[in-house]
Symmetry: C2
Subunit: 344 residues, 2 copies
DNA sequence: GCTTGCGCCTAAATCGATTTAGCATTTCCC
DNA sequence: GGGAAATGCTAAATCGATTTAGGCGCAAGC
């Protein structure tokens, strides 16, 4: 392991160390020493020093120097938590990439990459505050702590937030309340009279909204409040354990609205283990955030945002903000879609 | 949309346009005009010009200037295809992030991000060849075209390849042949005598290796060659369609080895639809690349790499290559693990 | 009238790597 | 022996943004 010197090793450091010029070092690093006729002995000395001093090139400097000055390059990022449903992120990336390719011309290029943070610890992400990493970002899958941080800080570059409402940024999200209302409607259509809502311990703004809207939709329809099943985490295992425990306490449960599909997958598992037929005995509704919800057993009926439209809106907004054609933040609501499959 | 001017708009462009200095423009962009006492009228003129000319900051230049010279910053990337099983990528990222955090000190920082390319079109990834984007990368989920490209090009920075053998790079992969052999063993233990192997149309090196090793293991055991079921893509739907067709042609099929879990998921679906009990009538083996394989119906028995170890080896190698402690590429094999669940 | 202070702005250095033009030597050849 | 060519290297400019030190002009104060 390289020793921790005070100052980073640059091309100049190496040059001074050997008594040659930075040009010579750079030449060797780029493997151009043949065409530039450096003496083999010098090349070897430089190589050695590069190794011994633990040189790490500065990519920012290289880019600055190397970039084609005819081309404007913009860096876009998708910031999401490790704990997020990944397939949505990859779908977002793919759609952003397409949108961005469509806007690329000879004189304008974009790069898109995914950066992840631990849910609730967005604030610790290095370089987030400094405007020297991204020209624009999409932030998704934040927890309330992250939202609080974002509300308190105005990042010095273009930002679009997915799935929550923050006054200082442009946001795109599912029409508030609609997901929960639709879920209630689906379960009532199945004649569920003792429905429950399955939630993770840590709720995002979106999942919390679904749960509360579900409860008030039931109330508005004159039904009793749903039982609240709280799972330890987001995984199917957590969902299964929580539902199994609930079925023991409330054997009459006849409907479950799971605020994420992974929890719904666990619920299906627990119901099967307990011998309850889905949807005959217990109807189950998820939210369409799992890639393979139609291959669950039974296939999962979902309410949830129309991701195509959500991503399209996000990209449009992001470009407006980046181009400074939009200065005041705005909110865009996308109504959830309903996909009926077998589970409800 | 901003017009496509010849030269990119820089701070200097704006300054010259207005007859002020670049310092003034920069001051306004950083919102430091109050403390630096720029006249409000000037601030407004600059803001206007910034908007009109469509200025996009150059993040490379900002980083170069802004970085703390006491800290050496390394950029790491995970390069993977859009079509890859994402949960593996996120797991890799998480483990890389941890490994990297452990190696971060006051004087040494790392950033890790995911960049994606279309399977088979790695070569089109912008900036891949130029050493000005990453200090080191992990490349995973490539198709043969990508491998050919990589074999022909030696990227000018640290590279570790996951899941295939390329002579010019360090590689980490499942012990060749072992996955297929273990799958054959599992199916023979289930007394499957007419097994089939389910493959996607486009095989990666790893999936191809699994299929051929499976065939030769059967042969070595004196069994006939397995039928080859070819699915259109990697999705469960493709797998289900291919398996349904196969069952019509070969009703006696009693075992399936699917070279990816998503295909296995489709197979389970098709078998259920055809009324074949799993594992009693048909045993199914997957490869452990799906996050929720133990929540499939029935839970999927898998052979596949021990990802923890794979990622650990990759990270170790990547740092060795970056620090120039390793110059000659090497290959590391990780024996596959076997997870017995209900499907075989 | 001369200093002091303030308001407003600029020149120039800097970050790290790369490349171009070109300067000394040495070698070659007639 | 003299010019030409080859060899081996360096100085300095450059990429774009930021910041520090400081300049100029005008008003206030003594």
């Amino acid at each position: 392991m390289a020793r921790a010197e005070k100052r980073p090793v640059t091309v100049r450091t190496i040059a001074e160390h050997l008594g040659v010029s930075p040009a010579a070092v750079s030449t060797v690093l780029a493997n151009r020493h043949e065409e530039r006729r450096l003496a083999p002995a010098t090349v070897e000395r430089i190589r050695q020093a590069v190794r011994e001093l633990g040189y790490v090139p500065n990519v920012a400097a290289r880019r600055l120097r190397a970039h084609d000055p005819e081309v404007r390059h913009a860096e876009l990022g998708i910031l999401t938590s490790f704990e997020a449903p990944l397939f949505l992120v990859s779908r977002t990336l793919r759609m952003v990439q397409e949108a961005v390719d469509a806007r690329s011309t000879g004189g304008r290029k974009f790069s898109v990459s995914i950066d992840m943070f631990h849910a609730g610890r967005l604030a610790e992400m290095p370089g987030l505050l400094s405007a020297s990493r991204f020209n624009g970002v999409i932030i998704a899958n934040t927890l309330p702590d992250d939202d609080a941080f974002l509300r308190a800080t105005t990042l010095p570059y273009a930002v679009v937030v997915q799935g929550r409402r923050l006054a200082n940024y442009s946001c795109v999200l599912e029409t508030p309340g609609e997901g929960g209302r639709q879920a209630a409607k689906l379960l009532r259509a199945r004649r569920s009279v003792r429905p429950a809502v399955l939630v993770p311990a840590l709720l995002t703004e979106t999942t919390a909204d679904r749960a509360t809207a579900f409860a008030s939709a039931l109330q508005a329809a004159g039904q009793p409040q749903p039982a609240r099943i709280q799972a330890d985490g987001f995984s199917p295992a957590a969902g299964a354990a929580a539902v199994a425990a609930h079925l023991r306490r409330e054997p009459d449960c006849d409907g479950i609205f799971a605020v994420t599909d992974t929890l719904a997958l666990g619920a299906l598992h627990a119901l099967k283990a307990a011998g309850r037929a889905v949807p005959e005995k217990v109807a189950v509704v998820g939210v369409g955030d799992h890639e393979h919800a139609d291959f669950f057993d039974p296939p999962l009926t979902c309410v949830g945002p129309a991701y195509e439209r959500v991503v399209a809106e996000i990209v449009t907004l992001l470009f407006e903000v980046m181009n400074r054609r939009r200065v005041r933040p705005t909110e865009v609501f996308v109504p959830p879609s309903v996909v009926r499959r077998a589970s409800a």
